[in-house]
Amino acid sequence: MNEEEKIKSDIKEWIAANRAHLPLNIDSWEFTAWKSSEEWIKQPTVRRGAKYDSALYASTPFYKPYSKMCKL
């Protein structure tokens, strides 16, 4: 079992032990594990000092599908 799976398993055990104190729909909650690896942190994804006192984050380019007025 890798580290992510181990943590998820710990969370599930904790939920089972505390079920009576948690919301009724706890079984439908989703848990996604992701590693914040050093390589990922080092990537220059954020550029500080961008215009208007803001920061720029790298992201997927905007996809614009064909659109027109829709009369239904």
């Binding site: 079920r19 948690l22 009724l24 989703e30 996604t32 992701w34 208007y52 007025m69």
Partner: protein
């Protein structure tokens, strides 16, 4: 001077600012980002005249209501310096907890007024307090304005859920207010998410068979409404910018379009709401005292418009760009006084 409260990485604020500088070259704009610890604050209430004022200063900048010509609350929050409470942590916990509880309640009282003041000042768009809008109360207020809403149950008793499932063909469960949070471990993060999922009756009858199951905390259950398409409507001071999202063509986005299908994105088109629905939504927004927000609705195969919720600080750029609404320019026009 235009005062904007936002997030460091909010690109929609940059686009609105592009338009502000184009429409009003030389405009003085003050942008506060993220959580702003207040260094100096003075609220003055005049005895007789309409000269009430607020002076606010953070570590980097200051804002005075006397110079204010426009205000937009986009995101972020204003706080007081909390380091004092952290330092008090060295003291016995009884002292720390009692002091911090009292100080937080007093400061939050002042901060809630800050939001009110700026929102009602001339060209204010949204206010920090809009974040506290109650989605349960909003369903009831929308219904009072004549809008259809889904049957909803908030409970911590499994027998109530079973009765609700028997009364409605399909039921979903979803977050009551916020849909996700993050748990951070060293090197690993866990995102905990509550997107809408269809409820399986066997789970709850299983609880029931083990005795009437009841937990401490409630969950939300809602009638699943069949959709012809979903509507995302940006509302700004009485004007509507609706977009239809054809989410039913993809199994992935059928229950909630936020389960994005990245390979085959949903088709999104500009849309015109019926006048009667616009009037009801406008009355609803007035009732909850929110002058800007993103409204989620469903259009059913039977031709009914069903209100789901309103988000005061939602994303609007995907809607603006998909439908060529140029919302950023309209917001800038309000801020520069050209609207």
């Amino acid at each position: 001077m235009i005062f904007i409260q936002s997030d460091l990485n909010d690109t929609s604020t940059n686009d609105v600012l592009d338009w502000c500088y184009y429409l009003s070259p030389g405009a003085e704009v003050k942008r506060f980002n993220d959580e702003i610890p207040v260094r100096k604050i003075s609220i003055k209430i005049d005895r007789k005249n309409q000269l009430d004022s607020i002076d606010l200063a953070s570590a980097n900048d200051s804002v005075s209501s006397s110079d204010l010509s426009g205000h937009w609350y986009r995101r972020g929050e204003t706080t007081f310096n909390k380091s004092f409470i952290k330092a008090a942590g060295k003291q016995p916990s009884e002292i720390t907890h009692s002091f911090s509880d009292y100080i937080y309640s007093e400061t939050n009282y002042v901060l809630s007024y800050l939001g009110e003041f700026f929102a009602h000042h001339k060209t204010g768009i949204n206010k920090a307090n809009d974040n506290l809008t109650n989605k349960i109360s909003n369903l009831i207020k929308a219904k009072q304005q004549g809008l259809s809403v889904p049957a909803t149950l908030i409970t911590n008793c499994s027998n109530e859920v079973i009765s609700f499932l028997q009364a409605n063909k399909k039921v979903i469960t979803k977050a009551i207010a916020d849909s996700n949070f993050k748990i951070s471990f060293t090197g690993i993060n866990i995102t905990v998410c509550q997107l809408p999922v269809l409820v399986d009756i066997d789970t709850y009858t299983g609880y029931q068979q083990r005795g009437a199951y009841q937990t401490s905390l409630p969950s939300l259950y809602q009638e699943y409404i069949d959709k012809k398409y979903e509507l995302r409507i940006f509302y700004l001071k009485g004007k509507f910018y609706p977009m239809a999202i054809f989410s039913q063509a993809s199994e992935k986005t059928k229950t909630d379009f936020r389960n994005y299908d990245r390979e085959r994105p949903n088709r999104c088109v500009p849309y015109k709401l019926p006048d009667a629905i616009e009037q009801k939504l406008d009355a609803f927004m007035s009732t909850i005292d929110m002058n800007c927000g993103s409204i989620d609705m469903i259009y059913t195969p039977d031709g009914d418009y069903v209100f789901l919720e309103v988000n005061p600080v939602g994303q609007f750029q995907w809607l603006s760009k998909n439908c060529n609404y140029d919302i950023e320019r309209t917001i800038a026009k309000h801020l520069t006084g050209e609207a």
